[in-house]
Symmetry: C2
Subunit: 227 residues, 2 copies
DNA sequence: TACCATTTGTGCGTATGTATG
DNA sequence: CCATACATACGCACAAATGGT
């Protein structure tokens, strides 16, 4: 009787409505006694279910079945190369533009820096099987580059280079659907106005913002949760 | 010195590249001795970092800093009413269609049932502040309804009703960008061909599929991760 | 291949901390 | 202020996986 068994049994009771939504379930001590395990084992099982949003736990108040469980879907945000190769296609990328430039207002707002601040601007096209897969526009804080030396992003994509060479960071991600502009459409080989799947990501360290990326995927792209 | 302190210190060392990507870090025992805590405490900290994708752990092989950390972004999938009310807007919904019908091929494939199987078809418009917020098309397995009695989905949306009245389930979610069809555009009050943010969700119990939902959000909708 | 040593994974019993009804 | 229930920690033990001999 491990903690996973306890988790499954508790989950079964929730699903079977032995313990209906909103109801307080027996305490850790009681469950430990019932299942013949240590309290720590029950704790581990209940903690997992609480993290998944199925239980709500509060000291002294006890543990209750969530009334409106907020499902937590987890997305695996991998490097584009990995994503492409996982599909069994060959990956390549082309740097379309690379220059120092005053940051755009929209990007400045998201990165939390003054508009017009001098940043490295990068425009990249990612290819899968030789065909356009994603179009990337990136603003990169040059301060995070060791010695402010710009690496060769033609060899390794900025995405990958940052992951491997700059500090691990926290970030924010947002997804939306937009209509492709003429320029974006041209890069992706689709028609202007076609719907594109947009991923916007901001990453930063404790001290400074690192980068803001806007990634466009053409029609047919699906982002799936890994359950 | 709690497990969170250990986690932060280990994270700091990873970020500072004291332990570069790919490198094996000291074992639990050694870290426990260094930090003056029990091994279980170190274990808890390292386990969390491994779940976050920053460490890779294997028995006997030890713990190493991930070479290509796969960031795990978590999305809170709440019911639409909550989402709307969280924006400070009033929620309402209208059932546009409700009938028993042979399931469409596309939906049958996703639900894993024979095409043409008799399912409850539901079309709903969700309103935020009186304006169209999302358009929902749903196929619902009537077997999951207690006594096969169809509830009044005009009073409580199917989404919410299912969460509260049917077994908790596992599911699969996918997001994409598509062009609105004429009918969808009319329902959402946008132009045909406008990009829409599409969420498709399948849920099932251990025994049977429950429902397949296709949810369309009009322009301006953003799905954000909760980091 | 067979075995051994190592490292993480999990469990128990106990104790104390902490939020809170 | 107290009693309660969860949160965390310790030390020990054994299981399971697996790299190496």
């Amino acid at each position: 009787m491990g903690w996973e068994d306890v988790r499954e049994e508790v989950l079964r009771r929730i699903r079977a409505r032995d313990w209906p939504p909103g109801e307080v379930i027996p305490g850790e001590e009681a469950l430990a006694a019932e299942f013949g395990v240590a309290r720590a084992t029950v704790n581990r099982a209940l903690r997992e279910l609480a993290e998944a949003g199925l239980l709500e736990r509060r000291r002294k108040a006890g543990t209750r079945v969530a009334l409106l469980p907020v499902r937590k879907a987890t997305l695996d945000i991998s490097i584009i190369r990995q994503e492409v190769e996982a599909r069994g296609e060959s990956y390549a990328h082309r740097v379309l533009a690379q220059r120092m430039e005053g940051i755009s207002l929209a990007a400045a707002v998201r990165m939390g820096v003054p508009a017009g601040a001098s940043m490295l601007f990068l425009e990249t096209l990612h290819l899968a099987g030789g065909r356009p897969f994603a179009h990337e526009v990136r603003w990169l804080n040059p301060d995070v580059l060791p010695g402010r030396v710009v690496p060769d992003f033609g060899a390794v994509s900025a995405n990958e280079w940052l992951v491997q060479n700059v500090a691990y960071a926290t970030g924010d991600i947002a997804f939306s659907a937009e209509a492709a502009t003429a320029a974006e459409a041209a890069a992706l080989g689709i028609a202007a106005g076609d719907p594109v799947f947009v991923t916007e990501r901001v990453t930063w360290t404790a001290e400074a913002p690192i980068t803001f990326v806007r990634l466009l995927h053409g029609p047919g792209y699906r982002l799936r949760t890994m359950v």
